[in-house]
């Protein structure tokens, strides 16, 4: 069974700091990759997704992620975080043949003003 690992469980940054959240998955076949954000008390919102092509994908709110196939990784980045980025971030993977998403355990990001 595939699994998704997010190594950073809780990250605290100051505003304007750069962000990188790690995501690794364990599936050898073709995958589609996603990052979702969950603001406090709200539902999951799609930040960005990768299906194929350019491994560097850009999403909403200045976020981007890079797919490195050889490392089974899909790390999320943002050059300069804002207080409003305080939220929980989930990496998710979908493999071929299934419609369901497998989520990582999430990373809680706290941005201090």
């Amino acid at each position: 069974a595939q699994s998704v690992s997010q190594h950073n469980h809780h990250v605290i940054l100051s505003e304007a700091a750069s962000l990188e959240l790690g995501c690794n998955y364990s599936y050898g076949g073709t995958v589609n990759l996603f990052w979702y954000v969950q603001y406090p008390g709200q539902h999951l919102q799609l930040l960005l997704k990768y299906f194929s092509g350019d491994p560097l994908v850009k999403g909403i709110k200045g976020f981007e992620a890079e797919f490195i196939k050889s490392k089974f990784s899909f790390n999320l980045r943002k050059p300069s975080v804002q207080w409003s980025d305080t939220a929980e971030y989930f990496c998710a993977v979908k493999n071929t043949g299934r419609r369901a998403l497998t989520f990582g355990s999430g990373t809680r990001l706290q941005v201090q003003p």
Binding site: F34, L44, L46, F90, R98, R99, L101, F103, S105
Partner: protein, 115 residues
């Protein structure tokens, strides 16, 4: 833009009671997914339906059942509730082409508390 609607938003039940959660997908979406997110945990896939047929099954307990109706809304029925069923239950929807890629749109969730 219309989003996924879930009702109720909050539900409190006693142990051994039953609960029914409803999900109304985005208009024209034909696929519905149910996920369970326990306190401090990641969402776990329960079950999905495409064109009213079960399309995928995850870690859904036998005490739970679900179906998708002709108007594409879905209901998750939970019986013999246990304390461990307390969680946030998300519904997501997709249109078949996007669904094949994994793009899903999530609803606000139903927070179920079992006392």
């Amino acid at each position: 833009a219309a989003g996924v609607i879930q009702s109720p938003r909050h539900l409190i039940k006693e142990k051994r009671e039953t609960a029914t959660l409803k999900c109304y997908p985005i208009p024209r979406h034909d696929t519905v997914y149910w996920y369970q997110q326990g306190p401090g945990q990641d969402p776990q896939f329960l079950i999905s339906f495409y064109e009213k047929m079960q399309s995928d099954k995850g870690s859904i307990p036998d005490r739970f059942s679900a179906q998708q109706f002709s108007d594409y809304h879905s209901e998750l029925n939970m019986s013999s509730l246990e304390l461990g069923d307390s969680a946030l239950y998300f519904c997501a929807s997709s249109f078949r082409v996007e669904g094949a890629t994994g793009t899903q749109y999530f609803g606000p969730g139903t927070r179920l508390t079992v006392l």
